[in-house]
Symmetry: C2
Subunit: 315 residues, 2 copies
């Protein structure tokens, strides 16, 4: 019997991406020895056509975004990425060239981030393209960054600039200008903040996937603290600045930033800035944790500002 | 800010299922120490509404089938199941009660098979319900069963009976009778063949998910051998027998069996049967591996029979 198309597709496009332990993607499961003496960090993110990416997005970029949103979770735990499992449900009739482009995108970011394909599953679907990755990283036992480690008085920091993901989505929809394409690029290809040498410097961390205010709220809640954010300090791009403070305060900065929120004692500020700079990453102090509960926003002149309840929910 | 519905849903239905390392499903990733000195076995299977289960199937059964098809892959490597990651993409408006039933199904099979939820992701989808599980097991290094380990002269064995999955699907479609509901039950709730003490007895193994002939062909190919199957020996249920030999030879026995194909030297036959019986599992010798390539089928009187190329492909 010749092999059905499904197996030929796997052999042609995905087997070349397979790493140690993947057994050439021909067995029922992968087998691998976890790095000795290390804790495994494991995250899973799904992406669905029309929800997490636009129907016309290039297959190559979809593949890279899929890896990057998962790598961002590995980064937010302070872990080193290792390998991943992929499930892909595609409409029947998806052209072979689409799979080729998708695999080419995986190959690019496998090389960029040092990860390998461990295994997975391909199926058909009567619905839109539906993707899921389980990403593995590793970390010294007991040293993974958590959301709930902030202490009263700790400063809240954020990497990069905020709001680029949602601005990119608006640009791709033709709602705002994007002369150099940088907004669209951020939406399609976020930058996971891997490799920051912040162990012993930060007390808590998470990545921003659902919007700055919502995610900062998660961090405060997990830490059993309140949080005061100086809204004017939130780092924005020119496009973000033109949208003004309300852009942040309303919660409308939305998701898809994939920047890191970091908590650190005030005394660690210089080390934090230096360690981020070593990786070419700007960090900005935007607030501080306080006893109590809830997130409050303040303007530059100390006036409290109403915060919207925005942020992404699927249900 | 109050939590959006998505987080409330996770806290209510999925957090109670979370095991050690899941960090209460509130962090960006799970952190767990792999069992010391053991190799990890990792598999991922996706399931899509209208493809892998019927739109009207009970949420509880969908959840259990999702775990079981993944556990079957763990079983086929001779591994001990450990924990799993879940991604779930559901249509907006999916009732809360559906998630409750789905979680109840997960809880039932978590208890039955000794696995725990490690983490995951829930998203919305404009398409049908789309699910993915990455399942972890462990095994002594170097002892995982592979597809490619069969040697010339090894016997081919199969657990249980064949064709129940596709017969169950036909029954649920009203195409064949199913007076006691056992066919439908097999389609909805396959039995992963975990825990068979066959290390040192079998030379190769895999589970049957795409159909006996196709999967046996994979095993022969991976082993660099040919395979002769005695078609009359293939164990069938009454319903399967009424479909006759062609039911097997045509390849139409289809997928969703989740029985194990096992290769073993002839001298290990008694030990194999005894080890399977300890777990209440019937095993049947249905063929043997030979030098060469390809799968050939024979009748009880030694006549070669044409084999169909059937078996499931998604593309």
């Amino acid at each position: 019997m010749s092999l059905p198309a499904e197996f030929s597709l796997i052999a042609r496009h995905f087997a070349p991406l397979a790493g140690d332990g993947a057994l050439g993607l021909t067995d029922d499961a992968a087998v691998f020895m976890p790095p000795a003496g290390r804790a495994l960090v494991v995250t899973a993110d799904a992406m669905v056509g029309g929800v997490h990416f636009l129907p016309g997005d290039p297959a190559r970029d979809i593949a890279r975004k899929l890896l990057r949103v998962n790598l961002s979770d590995i980064a937010s735990m302070g872990a080193v990425p290792l390998c991943y499992m992929l499930t892909l449900s595609a409409p029947r009739g998806t052209p072979d060239a689409w799979f080729g482009d998708f695999a080419a995108g995986l190959a690019l970011d496998q090389a960029a981030y040092g990860v390998q394909l461990l295994g997975g599953d391909t199926t058909s679907t009567p619905g839109p393209l539906s993707l899921s990755v389980t990403m593995f990283g590793h970390v010294a036992p007991g040293t993974a960054w958590r959301r709930g480690g902030a202490r009263p008085g700790d400063a809240l920091w954020v990497t990069g600039v905020i709001g680029q993901g949602v601005l990119g989505l608006r640009a791709l929809r033709g709602e705002i200008a994007d002369p150099d394409g940088s907004l669209a690029a951020h939406y399609r290809l976020p930058q996971p903040r891997l490799g920051l040498a912040l162990h012993g410097i930060v007390s808590a961390a998470m990545d921003i996937s659902d919007g700055l205010l919502q995610d900062a709220g998660h961090m405060a809640r997990a830490s059993g603290l309140g949080l005061e954010i100086e809204l004017d300090r939130v780092p924005l791009s020119d496009a973000g600045r033109s949208a003004g403070v309300d852009f942040v305060a309303s919660g409308a900065a939305g998701g898809d930033d994939y920047e890191l929120l970091l908590a650190a004692p005030e005394g660690n500020s210089d080390r934090l800035v230096a360690a981020a700079a070593e990786k070419g990453v700007a960090v900005t102090r935007i607030g501080r944790f306080v006893a109590g509960a809830g997130v409050r926003g303040f303007s530059a002149d100390g006036r409290e500002m109403a915060l919207g309840g925005g942020g992404w929910s699927h249900f």
